[in-house]
Symmetry: C2
Subunit: 206 residues, 2 copies
């Protein structure tokens, strides 16, 4: 099978992960259209579902996309007792709703065998103190991926669930004692696998 060039929408392209994923996808010969709140070719805030609608109208104006990658997502970190309802709503909008709506609204703008690759993280399975919202969001997105996969076939959807990045240990290492880490390059590889492979409903844990 000859590798075919894909037209890929990369949301969160300016972040630590998004930068690494964009580099890996371009190295594979793909066309990457970058999306960000404050950087990138397309400026949209995907935590607002109406902006996702506008994003797709612009990004798919010249024909269907082959893949949508979401490398964006943010949640508040604090001791459980200090959370507020607004904090949970913030996690919902910032890491769940945005990814779910990128899939749902993206369906008519994606090629027949196109794919979505979402981002979760190790805290969904292996929690740390102050990380309850991150765990909740990751668990939600991973269960959604399993559910969406059986409805959207032959379009596909997977999630990449990385450990803390090796490159981020200096900043976040103390929160992940003895838990190891994963180099950004290996995480980016998993996105390549998701887009160029044929599996769906998978959670790639790194």
């Amino acid at each position: 099978m000859t590798k075919r060039q894909q037209k890929i929408l990369l949301v969160g392209a300016g972040g630590t992960l998004g930068t690494a994923v964009g580099r890996a996808l371009r190295a594979r010969g793909h066309e990457v259209r970058t999306v960000g709140r404050s950087s990138g070719e397309l400026r949209f805030d995907v935590s607002d579902p109406t902006q996702i609608t506008a994003l797709y109208q612009k990004a798919a104006a010249d024909g269907p996309l082959d893949a949508v990658v979401c490398a964006a997502g943010s949640v508040p970190y604090k001791p459980l007792a200090e959370f507020s309802p607004d904090d949970w709503h913030s996690a919902f909008a910032g890491k769940i709703l945005c990814q779910v709506e990128l899939v749902r609204q993206g369906l008519p703008h994606l090629a027949d065998r196109g794919s979505f690759a979402l981002t979760t993280g190790i805290l969904g399975e292996q929690p740390i103190p102050t990380g309850a919202a991150a765990s909740l969001a990751n668990g939600a997105v991973e269960a959604f991926v399993r559910a969406a996969a059986i409805e959207i076939s032959p379009q596909r959807v997977n999630a990449i669930s990385p450990n803390v990045f090796t490159e981020s240990l200096g900043v976040y290492g103390d929160f992940f004692p003895g838990m190891g880490s994963v180099p950004l390059e290996r995480v980016a590889e998993a996105f390549v696998r998701s887009l160029e492979g044929a599996q769906t409903g998978q959670i790639y844990r790194l």
Copy 2:
């Protein structure tokens, strides 16, 4: 170890599951205080976090509770493409936020070794068409349980994740082809196990 009577707050006491759980807990000699939107001793809508605050002020006015059980929770079912942002918000409020806030707000009203028992369901792991919101909510709550457990110890929290109830096969059986079912009595037993046992951060799958 002698079994000690527990003072238990049972949210969603009037529903199919809540009724079975209340019966099992009373059969074990526990005191059950029933909560519901439109039935029960205490009338509160736990999908509104401010009503959870009021609920606890009333329910724990005579001293800490030994356990809080949530047998409530509702989410919309429809084909993925037909969901709207409001539907996701509805699932969030109806099955995620209510359970998360019952735990968080309940911490100061719960005995030192008291416990929470939440409800998820098989769709978190085993999806069916039209069930994306249910899957998402169950995955979120299960990951939250793992995360909360490590922060609230020696207080405890578990989730019970049942298959479709045998008693509900007449109504919902067609949505669960070949997936088996579980009698309500066995599901109720898992709540007894969660409350009278010593484990935490567990998902009891039935």
